[in-house]
Symmetry: C2
Subunit: 253 residues, 2 copies
């Protein structure tokens, strides 16, 4: 059973404004919620049908102080962000550092980091978080004007990787100014990715879907890199380009 006020509360979290106000985001589906339960994220509540409750592993509501609500399928439908609602919806806390735009330069020193300048498509960001997880990149930094990482479409498309990769949202210009680290920027007119120097840990910087890396940020690139083209396509999708950069970086190690 779910109350009217609970319905309107969960539905409010479909919107960025209320996610930021309450510091909570939505996770849907047995597989995703099981990954959430296995993570260090703090879960506030779970809405599920009786049938699916038994598919949740690692759930110990008392120990974890999770408010578990048994609901009907039509009730789930009302609060879901999906067209075909899943069997379970969880509300979890957005990490403090993301909410507060916190960042410590030490997080990117001598480490590989992905940094996104104004990536707008939720599916692209979700895919990039999954790529970071695959290639063992622990920190992903999104600019203030990028799509918000806790948007339900981003969350679902990470396939659980959002619980393992630290995603931050900060003024990337400020960081690039302060941090003296290599910045490998994806530019169509950059040096050949396969041949250029690309071994010292640094920032893999990707730009907006249509405009690329902005002029404001471009000047911080220490190594402009480009994926050689062998055909006539004008560009590659930003998720695809990120994957090729990360793969090439790992290959060389």
């Amino acid at each position: 059973m779910i109350s009217k006020s609970q319905i309107s509360f969960v539905k409010s979290l479909h919107n960025k404004k209320y996610r930021e106000e309450h510091g909570l985001f939505i996770v849907e589906g047995v597989k995703m919620v099981n990954e959430l339960l296995a993570s260090s994220f703090i879960i506030q509540s779970i809405f599920t049908t009786e049938n699916y409750l038994k598919n949740l592993t690692n759930i110990n509501p008392k120990a974890k102080k999770i408010d578990v609500n048994l609901v009907t399928e039509p009730e789930l439908q009302k609060i879901s962000t999906l067209q075909t609602p899943n069997e379970v919806i969880a509300l979890a806390q957005i990490p403090f550092d993301f909410r507060k735009n916190h960042f410590d330069i030490a997080q990117i020193k001598d480490k590989w980091t992905i940094m996104l300048d104004d990536v707008q498509d939720p599916g692209n960001l979700g895919t990039i978080i999954r790529i970071a997880d695959w290639f063992g990149i622990k920190t992903l930094i999104t600019s203030l004007n990028s799509v918000e990482a806790y948007n339900p479409k981003v969350v679902q498309s990470t396939m659980g990787s959002i619980f393992r990769v630290e995603v931050l949202r900060i003024d990337i210009e400020q960081i690039l100014q302060a941090a003296k680290v290599p910045v490998y920027g994806a530019l169509l007119e950059g040096d050949n990715l396969y041949k250029a120097e690309f071994s010292k840990p640094g920032v893999i910087l990707m730009g907006n879907e249509s405009k690329g890396i902005s002029d404001r940020i471009r000047k911080y690139i220490t190594a402009p890199l480009s994926i050689p083209s062998f055909g006539q396509a004008e560009s590659l999708n930003v998720g695809i380009a990120t994957a090729i950069f990360c793969s090439e970086m790992r290959r060389r190690q």
Copy 2:
């Protein structure tokens, strides 16, 4: 002005059944239609507002026997496959070889080809066609059970590459049986992509989004390859994996 029967004809092409019956598919947007006009595809008709007609380059309706219909924006809205309809819609012929499931073994001998076993998501197929175009792979073979390449969502997500890469739809088992070519198959338990032999031109074979390459097809793989993982993500998206394979193939040349 567009007639009721024209509206229902174009709308019928939103569905695979009628695309196959009429051998026509839909292309939307000034950029896409300009790429179509620059290609060897045969265009049957164009619906556009007067305003946007002048943005179409290479258009010579008489020489190309294109039926150009000036319409209003609300009329375009009625026939569009998009939520925000573009300024122009073209109907073009689906290539004969695709429609008839034609194929000649010579098309894959001593060449790089991408082959897809049961890829279902239109966005993934569109992205893979764009990747093929970027990396200069001229032929992409889809299995009979893959999503149809002339689905409007596939077409739009290729960003024009569908006019430059030959896409075929055939019984891939039959081809793999007959063609004695290297088959590089993406398998989670394959050999390290970065270290394995991967130089002789052959087929880059990718599988279904959740099930991978089917057992029926798997036995034709001559070189099982895997992208090494450095983190905890269970898998990579099929478009991402295809891109990394194609990039690694080109890097070695």
